[in-house]
């Protein structure tokens, strides 16, 4: 297991560099938007990666509620943290793309609004994690994650209806996509997924170590009544 991490790290680095080259150089230039469109290869894969991570969070939370395994709790925490980071990337690259193309930083179109609400839900999850005392945090956070995940379809559905009543410019141009662009998009997604997995794994190990240290400290101060100087 320990050897796999650096190997995967190198592979991911190579994949990211290749994906970067593909996105910035190899991919064909878009007809109407020009080179600005290339941010699409960061905006969309980040969104897909974030969605997958939030789904992992949901599954891990349900697993924790059923089985009460600490590993499930750590996976839930880790996937939420990394998912929020990728969601932030989506929310930042969105306006960066919108500004030169539409002349505005933000628009309350369906996709951006839904992503913002998704971000808000998972940031509130992270707040609960931070503010509750360590005894009940896993259970409370798991319950919140279930509620949050169930809320997601409502969010998309309600905002979709809200926005289709008053049509807004849709980012990213509808219709079919050039097969070469699709190819670059998928390569970037693969690279981002590998990177996300790497970061999650690293964070998982860090969190597990932290908990083991805390546990050892607690045990030590229990056994030594004069205090362990923590």
């Amino acid at each position: 297991m320990k050897k796999a991490f650096p190997i995967l790290g190198v592979l991911t680095a190579v994949l990211l560099i290749y994906a970067l080259y593909m996105a910035l150089v190899w991919a064909p230039t878009e007809k109407t938007m020009g080179n600005v469109q290339r941010i699409f290869y960061y905006h969309v894969p980040s969104a897909w990666t974030a969605f997958i991570l939030f789904f992992v969070n949901f599954v891990a939370s349900v697993l924790y509620l059923i089985k009460r395994k600490p590993a499930a709790d750590i996976v839930a925490l880790v996937s939420a943290e990394v998912g929020v980071v990728f969601c932030t990337v989506v929310l930042v690259t969105g306006p960066i793309w919108a500004r030169p193309v539409w002349g505005i930083w933000w628009t309350w179109d369906m996709r951006l609004t839904s992503t913002l609400v998704l971000w808000l839900i998972y940031v509130s999850y992270l707040f609960l994690r931070r503010f509750s005392s360590s005894g009940q945090t896993p259970t409370l956070a798991a319950a919140l994650a279930v509620l949050g995940a169930l809320c997601v379809p409502f969010v998309y559905f309600s905002i979709w209806f809200f926005r289709t009543q008053h049509p807004q410019p849709v980012m990213g141009g509808g219709g079919s996509i050039d097969p070469r662009m699709l190819h670059v998009l998928l390569i970037n997604w693969l690279a981002f997924s590998c990177f996300a997995f790497l970061v999650c794994w690293s964070r998982y190990r860090l969190e597990k170590l932290q908990r083991d240290v805390d546990h050892a400290h607690a045990l030590a101060s229990l056994l030594d009544p004069r205090g362990s100087g923590r």
């Binding site: 509620l65 609400v117 808000l120 839900i121 940031v123 509130s124 707040f127 609960l128 503010f131 509750s132 005392s133 005894g135 009940q136 259970t139 409370l140 319950a143 919140l144 279930v146 509620l147 949050g148 169930l150 809320c151 409502f154 969010v155 559905f157 309600s158 905002i159 209806f161 809200f162």
Partner: protein, 224 residues
């Protein structure tokens, strides 16, 4: 009467009786709501025709903030004298307590809405162009959505740091679809447009989240 409904009834009546004697929650909610309305009136001309388009949103924001005031005090009484711990070790089902608390909050917020609505009508010169009975339906469904999630999150925030701020931090994001539905349906009814989609969404939201809260409440109450 079976034990669970008996417990629910007893807890609910106790809370209502305590509230009736002190009137703490209802007074603070009422005053807070009024303040919100007045402050909002500075940002636009309330009597203009355009106000009909934003009145729905403002009304629900005022009710939302007032509901948070009510929700924050939901469990405060139970924490004193370890009443909640006593409840945990008793064989009483946790859901009875949850339903009692939710119903209590629902009644408080509904009373507030009943008192504030004439004020809104007067301040914003509101006249519903659509069927006014639908506004009643939206009020009931919307209030329930806020209160059921709010009572659940209030229980969740009990042992967190900054308990009072945790409740809105957790409640608002998850309530966004319901809030959108409440505001849009109110605006639609006031302007004589169709609100069926939003009402159906509210019903679905209420059903789903009431079920999930009931399923998870025991876990949250006993999380230790």
């Amino acid at each position: 009467m079976s034990a669970p409904t008996g417990i629910t009834r007893a807890t609910l009546l106790k809370d209502l009786r305590l509230e009736w004697r002190s009137k703490d929650a209802i007074n603070s909610m009422l005053f807070f709501s009024l303040l919100v309305v007045v402050v909002f009136s500075f940002s636009f001309d309330p009597s203009a025709e355009e106000s009909r388009l934003i009145a729905g949103g403002l009304i629900w924001v005022a009710f939302l903030f007032a509901a948070v005031v009510a929700l924050n005090q939901t469990w405060a009484r139970e924490l004193r004298n370890q009443v909640l711990d006593a409840y945990r070790v008793s064989p009483a089902p946790a859901n009875s307590l949850f339903i009692a608390k939710t119903l209590g909050n629902f009644i408080f917020v509904t009373v507030l809405e009943a008192l504030m609505t004439p004020l809104f009508i007067v301040f914003y010169r509101l006249r519903a162009l659509g069927p006014a009975w639908q506004l009643l339906l939206v009020a009931v469904l919307g209030t329930w959505a806020l209160v059921v999630n709010g009572t659940f999150f209030a229980a969740m925030s009990l042992r967190t740091r900054s308990r009072e701020i945790m409740l809105p931090l957790l409640l608002f994001p998850i309530s966004i679809p319901a809030l959108l539905a409440m505001v849009q349906s109110t605006t639609a009814i006031l302007n004589g447009e169709g609100a069926r989609f939003w009402i159906v969404l509210l019903v679905t939201y209420d059903l789903v989240f009431t079920t999930v809260c009931l399923l998870l409440f025991e876990t949250v109450l006993n999380a230790e």
